[in-house]
C-alpha cells in the first residue's frame, strides 16, 4: 500500500478535492481501513455543517414528485414529436432536461441507427459501441422484430438516467407503446409512450443493470403491469 493520503482526507470529506485527487483517495480508501475511519469521522463533521443549512421546507408536492418519477405507471415521456422529420426530432431530444452530454458524433450515430439502415445495422452497432466509449456511456441498438417499423436505441450514460430513443409508428387506437426492463425473467414496467409517437425519448423509470434486457411492446392504453403484447424491439445489455 502506498503512503496514506492523510492530508487530503478532510478535503475529501467535503468534496473539495479535484477529480484526479478524489479518484486517488477513493482508490486508496477501498484498501485502507485506517483512512476509511478517518474519513468517517470527518464525514460526521461534514454532516454537522450540512445541518447548519437553514431548515426551509420544500413544497408539499416534492415527496409526491420524487415518488412519481420512480413509479412505472407514471413514467415520464420526456420528449415527443407527433411526426417530425428525424433530425428535428433529434434536436428536440437534445433540448431535454435529461442530464445528457451527448456529443455530436453520438447524435449522428443515433440518426443512423434510427434510420434503420437494414443490412447496415451491424455496422451501425459497432459504430455505436465505439462512439459510446468516447461519449462515456453505452448505446445498444434494439433489435427490431420482423415486420415492425419501430426502431430504437438504449442509451446508458455514465451518469444520469438510462433512456430509450425510439422511432415509433402511431399505435393503433386504444394502444400504447410500453418499455420494459427485463431482470432475469422478470419484466419491470419502465414507462409508456402514451399517445406520442414519432421520435420519442423515453426515460426509463427502472435502472438498467448489466445483464438486464430492455424491450418495447404494444399494450393497452395507459400501460399494463405485465407485458401481454408482442415485443417489437428488444436488447440484452
Amino acid at each position: 500500500m502506498n503512503t496514506h493520503p492523510t492530508d487530503d482526507l478532510a478535503a475529501f470529506s467535503i468534496g473539495a478535492l479535484d477529480a484526479s485527487e478524489q479518484a486517488g483517495v477513493d482508490t486508496h480508501l477501498a484498501l485502507c481501513e485506517v483512512c476509511r475511519a478517518e474519513v468517517a469521522s470527518f464525514a460526521e463533521v461534514a454532516w454537522g455543517i450540512a445541518e447548519l443549512a437553514p431548515l426551509v421546507a420544500p413544497g408539499p408536492t416534492l415527496r409526491e414528485q420524487v415518488l412519481d418519477r420512480v413509479r412505472p405507471r407514471t413514467a415520464r415521456v420526456a420528449s415527443t414529436a407527433s411526426r417530425p422529420p428525424l433530425l428535428d426530432g433529434l434536436r428536440r431530444i437534445f433540448d431535454l432536461k435529461v442530464p445528457l452530454a451527448v456529443p455530436l458524433a453520438l447524435a449522428l450515430l443515433l440518426a443512423i441507427s434510427l434510420g434503420g439502415l437494414g443490412s447496415a445495422r451491424a455496422d451501425a452497432d459497432a459504430y455505436a459501441r465505439a462512439v459510446a466509449g468516447v461519449a462515456d456511456g453505452t448505446v445498444v441498438t434494439l433489435a427490431a422484430t420482423a415486420g415492425t417499423e419501430a426502431r430504437g436505441s438504449l442509451v446508458v450514460p455514465a451518469t444520469g438516467d438510462p433512456y430509450l430513443i425510439l422511432r415509433l409508428p402511431a399505435p393503433p387506437a386504444g394502444k400504447t407503446w410500453e418499455a420494459w426492463v427485463l431482470r432475469g425473467e422478470q419484466p419491470l414496467a419502465a414507462g409508456i409512450s402514451g399517445d406520442r409517437w414519432g421520435v420519442v425519448t423515453l426515460v426509463l423509470s427502472q435502472p438498467v443493470r448489466p445483464g438486464d434486457g430492455v424491450a418495447v411492446t404494444l399494450e393497452d392504453a395507459g400501460g399494463v403491469a405485465a407485458p401481454r403484447g408482442t415485443i417489437v424491439l428488444q436488447a440484452r445489455t
Binding site: D7, A10, A11, S13, I14, G15, A16, L17, D18, L29, A30, R36, V39, A40, S41, F42, A43, E44, V45, A46, W47, G48, I49, A50, E51, L52, A53, P54, L55, V56, A57, P58, G59, L62, R63, Q65, V66, L67, R69, V70, R71, P99, D161, L188, Q206, P207, R209
Partner: protein
C-alpha cells in the same frame, strides 16, 4: 438501500421522509433558489433510486452518501443551468434566514446545529471562509486558491486545520 435497489418505491419514500427536508435545505443553501432546489432535490432522490445498488455500507453512512449526491447535484446544476451565484458565502447563514416564515424547526436538529455553530465560531475567519467556499460554494481547493488569490498549499492547510478543529470541538462536547 437493498430494498430501494430491489425496486421498492416505499423504501425510497422512507428515505425521503428521513432526509427530504435536510437534502432540500442543503441544495437550497447552495443554490439560493427554491425552484432550483426543488428540481435538484428531485434529481437527488432519483439518483438514490438508480444508484442504491452501488451503495457500500463499509464506505460510509447513508447520510454521507446522500450528502455527496446532493452536493454534486447542486454543483452540476450550477455548472449546467444555473448562473453562478456570486455572493458572500458564510459557513452559517442561519441567522440571516431564520426570519423566513417557511422555516421549519426541529428541536433536536437545532440543538445539534447549535453545537456545530459554537464550534464554527471558534474557527479563525480564514478557516471558516475556505470551508464555506468549499462546502456551500461547491469549490475545490484549487478553485478557492484561484478565487481568493491564496497559495494552494495555504488553502489546503486551512481546510485541513478547520475540519480538524471542528472535529475536535465536537468530540469534546459529546
Amino acid at each position: 438501500m437493498e430494498r430501494i435497489a430491489a425496486g421498492d418505491a416505499g423504501a425510497l419514500g422512507e428515505i425521503y421522509d428521513a432526509y427530504g427536508r435536510i437534502v432540500f435545505a442543503i441544495v437550497y443553501r447552495m443554490l439560493a433558489s427554491p425552484e432550483a432546489a426543488e428540481e435538484v432535490a428531485q434529481d437527488v432522490f432519483h439518483a438514490v433510486w438508480r444508484r442504491a445498488g452501488a451503495y457500500r455500507r463499509e464506505r460510509g453512512a447513508v447520510r454521507t452518501w446522500l450528502l455527496a449526491i446532493a452536493r454534486n447535484a447542486a454543483i452540476d446544476w450550477r455548472r449546467t443551468r444555473g448562473k453562478r451565484v456570486e455572493r458572500e458565502v458564510e459557513l452559517d447563514a442561519a441567522t440571516a434566514m431564520r426570519a423566513d416564515s417557511s422555516v421549519v424547526d426541529s428541536v433536536l436538529l437545532s440543538l445539534r446545529a447549535e453545537r456545530v455553530r459554537d464550534a464554527v465560531r471558534t474557527l479563525p475567519p480564514e478557516q471558516r471562509d475556505v470551508l464555506a467556499l468549499a462546502f456551500w460554494g461547491g469549490l475545490t481547493q484549487a478553485e478557492i486558491a484561484l478565487r481568493t488569490a491564496t497559495p494552494l498549499g495555504t488553502v489546503k492547510s486551512r481546510v485541513r486545520l478547520g475540519m480538524e478543529k471542528l472535529r475536535l470541538h465536537l468530540a469534546e462536547e459529546s
